[in-house]
């Protein structure tokens, strides 16, 4: 039996294997994370495909930041985010849901706002002394779109392009090829960091997933399922999962792959039609990638599908997780049926992943174990806390300058 050695990119050498995990789930830590991490990070809040035309909007509640946002497409086609607050006396403008309006009207005194956020109607306006509507537009939140992913930032220190580093232009058209095929949410009694961590290592897959996907990864030449490639960025982490070329197909699965794209393949891959960001090292036996979009998002990217998991902390010990699965657009109903295998099996895998979080949180919060000792295969978790600790330092600017590229090799263009 041989072993695959992980090809690391970025600073994996100085990661300390011991991590003070217990302190990461405390209420004190969470209060600081909310202000210094969540308020200053670009946060994924939904796909722009939901906003089909000018005036299309949806309301996004962000309890993590005690905020409610209106995400709306303007007549110029741009997607913007505004606080869901009427500029008159602060009524919540839209209670919930989504829709399409040429003007957003407040039910309290009838003020109206354009899809670009301008104040366009003040009722009985002559009663307002020296009214200047230009001072009464909706309060904007920084909002940028990357490949249909809408991100917001409450206190941006850099553009979304800079935040995403070389991922910014490595996925042209990739996500847009897919449509949503499934979505779930759960509220769990667990810290959000533990949630993110449980999706950014492959070490667990041999054990947790033995009943659902026992042999997709690793195989004879990589029995411990070492990641072939792992990239630690300034904030994010991206790694590839190894395929098992000897995966055993069951009858239902074989039928699915016969009549649709092989979504969980083992080593029979064409790399030529993959964008640079997917399987970025062009690993030979490749299954899919895992990307942690720091702080609270994990993307899985495969050849014909991607998944997005987002963790929204409500408190130090309470988290809402939303999972969305996307797959290639079927050209016939046979392909649609074929996707039912992936969709339903994927959900059962997700339920296995979620099942450790509450028990782990409860055990850690006993305070009996202060530190955890992690494998190199868990480097994404160590990096997550290194990045978070950096942002929690008092002087964020100094931290950005210290870590800004210095620990990383020169960026290669693919």
């Amino acid at each position: 039996m041989d072993d695959v050695e992980t090809q690391f990119r970025g600073d994996a050498e100085t990661l300390e294997a011991w991590v003070p995990l217990q302190e990461k789930i405390t209420a004190e830590r969470f209060a600081a994370e909310r202000e210094k991490i969540f308020r200053r990070s670009w946060l994924y809040i939904g796909k722009a495909t939901a906003l089909t035309q000018p005036g299309s909007y949806f309301v996004k509640e962000l309890p993590t930041l005690n905020a409610s946002l209106i995400i709306v497409r303007g007549t110029d086609g741009r997607v913007r985010a505004f606080h869901n607050i009427c500029r008159h006396r602060g009524n919540k403008l839209i209670r919930e849901g989504s829709g399409c309006e040429t003007a957003i009207r407040c039910g309290f005194h009838g003020w109206g706002f354009s899809p670009e956020g301008a104040c366009i109607v003040v009722t009985d306006e002559h009663q307002f002394p020296s009214l200047d509507k230009s001072k009464l537009g909706l309060i904007a939140v920084a909002c940028e779109v990357w490949n249909d992913f809408i991100f917001v930032n409450f206190a941006p220190e850099q553009t979304l392009a800079a935040w995403l580093e070389d991922m910014w232009d490595q996925y042209p058209g990739y996500f847009q090829q897919h449509e949503k095929i499934a979505s779930y949410s759960v509220e769990i009694e667990s810290n959000w960091n533990l949630g993110v961590n449980s999706f950014t290592e492959g070490y667990h897959t041999l054990y947790i997933h033995r009943n659902t996907v026992p042999d997709y990864q690793g195989g004879k030449t990589n029995p411990q399922r070492h990641r072939p490639y792992m990239q630690l960025m300034k904030h994010h982490t991206r790694y590839s999962a190894p395929a098992n070329p000897d995966h055993h197909e069951t009858p239902a699965e074989a039928l699915a792959w016969k009549h649709g794209h092989k979504m969980l393949p083992a080593a029979t891959f064409r790399h030529d039609d993959l964008v640079a960001g997917v399987n970025p090292s062009r690993a030979d036996k490749w299954l899919f990638d895992v990307v942690e979009l720091f702080p609270n998002n994990v993307m899985l990217t495969g050849q014909y599908w991607h998944m997005v998991l987002t963790f929204w902390p409500l408190a130090a010990n309470r988290t809402v997780m939303v999972q969305e699965a996307f797959a290639y657009k079927p050209k016939n109903m046979g392909e649609r049926l074929s996707q039912e295998f992936f969709r339903s099996r994927g959900r059962e895998v997700l339920r296995e992943d979620l099942n450790t979080l509450e028990a782990q949180h409860a055990a850690l919060s006993s305070g009996a174990m202060k530190h955890a000792y992690l494998s190199r295969q868990e480097a994404a978790i160590l990096h997550h806390y290194r990045v978070a600790d950096g942002m929690l330092q008092d002087d964020p600017q100094a931290w950005f300058e210290r870590i800004g590229g210095a620990a990383l090799p020169p960026q290669e263009k693919r």
């Binding site: 979505s183 759960v186 239902a252 016939n332 969709r343 979620l354």
Partner: protein, 149 residues
């Protein structure tokens, strides 16, 4: 609790030999329009419709988990030899939009989707119809499109 789907329209005797569309037939006894449950080529699967042709992923999973392993296995074994024909049939439908399917085609799709739900405990040799050590199904919220197709 799961609401079992009750077939709304039983075919009157003798109309199952209809060829091709249109699928609606007049029930002479009631005067109401009736539909066949499944496309004619899959009439043999009609007894499965009431329990297994459920409208969305959420309903199909809850139904599977609520059934016992022998029931799920029996359904799986009834469907497995018919699945190649089901795929061939659906490959001739040149779009992937379930909302555009005729009711009997949609029911066939839902039956086949339930086959995939049933395949997990049977093919992965689970001890029961749900996984051991999984997050409780009752706490999983199904969001669109999982709650509607």
């Amino acid at each position: 609790m799961i609401a079992r789907r009750v077939p709304r329209n039983r075919l009157p005797d003798g109309t199952s030999s209809d060829k091709g569309p249109p699928v609606a037939a007049v029930d002479d006894r009631s005067g109401a329009m009736t539909e066949r449950l499944l496309p004619p080529a899959f009439a043999d699967l009609e007894p499965l419709v009431a329990v297994w042709a459920l409208p969305n992923e959420a309903a199909r999973q809850v139904n599977r988990v609520g059934a016992d392993l022998e029931t799920v296995r029996t359904f799986y074994l009834a469907m497995l030899p018919r699945m190649p024909a089901v795929f061939d049939y659906f490959e001739r439908v040149g779009h992937g939009d379930l909302d555009r399917l005729a009711p009997e085609d949609r029911r066939l799709f839902q039956l086949a989707a339930s086959f995939y739900e049933a395949s997990h405990p049977v093919e992965m040799k689970w001890r029961r119809t749900d996984i051991d050590d999984a997050f409780p199904l009752g706490r999983l919220r199904f969001l669109p499109p999982s709650d509607r197709r």
